[in-house]
Amino acid sequence: MKQKVFSLLLATVFLSTGLLAQGKFFTKTGKVYFNCTGGIEPIEGTNKSTTCVLDSKSGAIQFSMLMKGFEFEKQLMMEHFNENYVETEKFPKATFVGQIANNSEINYAKDGTYPAKVKGKLTIHGETRDVEAPGKITVKGGKIIATSDFKVQLSDYKVGIPSIVKDKISNDVKINVDLLLDPLKG
C-alpha cells in the first residue's frame, strides 16, 4: 500500500514537472525600455504593458505592445514620439514573432539561468525586419524571467529624424526587454 502511494506521488511530481516543461508561459505586464539619446538630454521611454507568450516546448515566442503605452519623463517628448516619430494613430502596435533558436539547451524543469539566442521578425511603424538578439532565460519557482538587450536602427523602420535634432536623437536605439512569465493555464 505504502509503495503504491509513493509511486502515485512520484508519478504526480514527474507528470506536473513534465507539464510545466511542456507548457506555455505568458505575461501582460512585461517591460520594454528604449533609449536613443544622441546628445545631452536623455531620450528614453518605458512600456510596462507588453504582452508575451512563450511556448517552452517549441521555443516559439511572441510579443506585442501598444506604442502609446510608452511613458516619458516629459510630456512634449511623449507628444513628439506619438505624433511625429512613430505615428501611433497610424501604427498603434509593435510586435515580435520569433523563436528561441537554442531552446533545446534550456531546461525549463530545472531552476537556473540559461543563455538564449532569439531570432524573429520585429514590426515597428508598419515595417518588419529580421532581428537576432542575445538573451537570458531564468527558470525560478515555476516562473520564467526572460531578458534581452539589443539594438535596432530607426531608419530600418522608416522613423525619420529631422535634421534639426540629428545631434539629439540617435539612429541607434538600445532596447531592453524584461518579462516575468507565469504558466498559462488551460
Partner: protein
C-alpha cells in the same frame, strides 16, 4: 528715447518667449486626478464594443491624451519589484480585461484594493491590444491611472 523703449520691449518679448519655451520643454504629464474623463464606461461594455467592432470603436476612442473612466470588478492585481501596480478589471470568466497601469504617485491608495472589489479607474487610454495568439485574451490598456472616488451628491 523711442529706440530705448523699443529695445526694452523687444527684450521683454524675447525673455517671455524663452520662459514659455523653457516651461513647454520641461512640461510633465498632467496628474490624472485633475483631468476630466472624456468617456465613462463599464469594463464589460468597452470590451464588448471592441470585440464586436474593433475598427469603429478604435475611431471612437482615438486621439492623443484621451482620458477614460472605467468601472469594473478587480480580477487581478499585479505588483512589480519596484512597487508599481497594474489592476485588471473585468469578468473573471473572460480572458480579456481592462488593464490599468497605475500612476506610481498614488501607490498608497492601492494597498487596500482586493480581488472582487468593484471600483472606478480613470486614466490615459492607450488602446486595444487584440490577442493574435488566441491564448491570452484581448485587452483595453490604460496608463497613469488613478482610483476615481465616488462623487459627493
Amino acid at each position: 528715447m523711442k529706440r530705448k523703449y523699443l529695445l526694452w520691449g523687444l527684450l521683454i518679448v524675447v525673455l517671455a518667449a524663452a520662459a514659455y519655451g523653457y516651461k513647454e520643454f520641461n512640461r510633465t504629464r498632467p496628474d490624472s486626478k485633475s483631468l476630466e474623463a472624456g468617456f465613462t464606461v463599464s469594463a464589460e461594455g468597452i470590451l464588448k464594443e471592441f470585440a464586436e467592432n474593433e475598427k469603429g470603436t478604435a475611431q471612437k476612442y482615438s486621439g492623443q491624451e484621451l482620458i477614460v473612466a472605467v468601472t469594473g470588478t478587480v480580477k487581478d492585481i499585479k505588483k512589480d519589484e519596484k512597487g508599481y501596480y497594474t489592476l485588471m478589471l473585468g469578468d473573471s470568466t473572460n480572458m480579456s480585461s481592462v488593464q490599468c497601469a497605475m500612476d506610481t504617485l498614488y501607490s498608497a491608495d492601492l494597498s487596500s484594493i482586493k480581488i472582487a472589489d468593484k471600483i472606478t479607474v480613470k486614466g490615459h487610454f492607450t488602446g486595444y491590444n487584440a490577442d493574435e495568439t488566441g491564448l491570452v485574451g484581448s485587452d483595453i490598456q490604460m496608463n497613469m491611472c488613478v482610483i476615481e472616488l465616488p462623487k459627493k451628491q
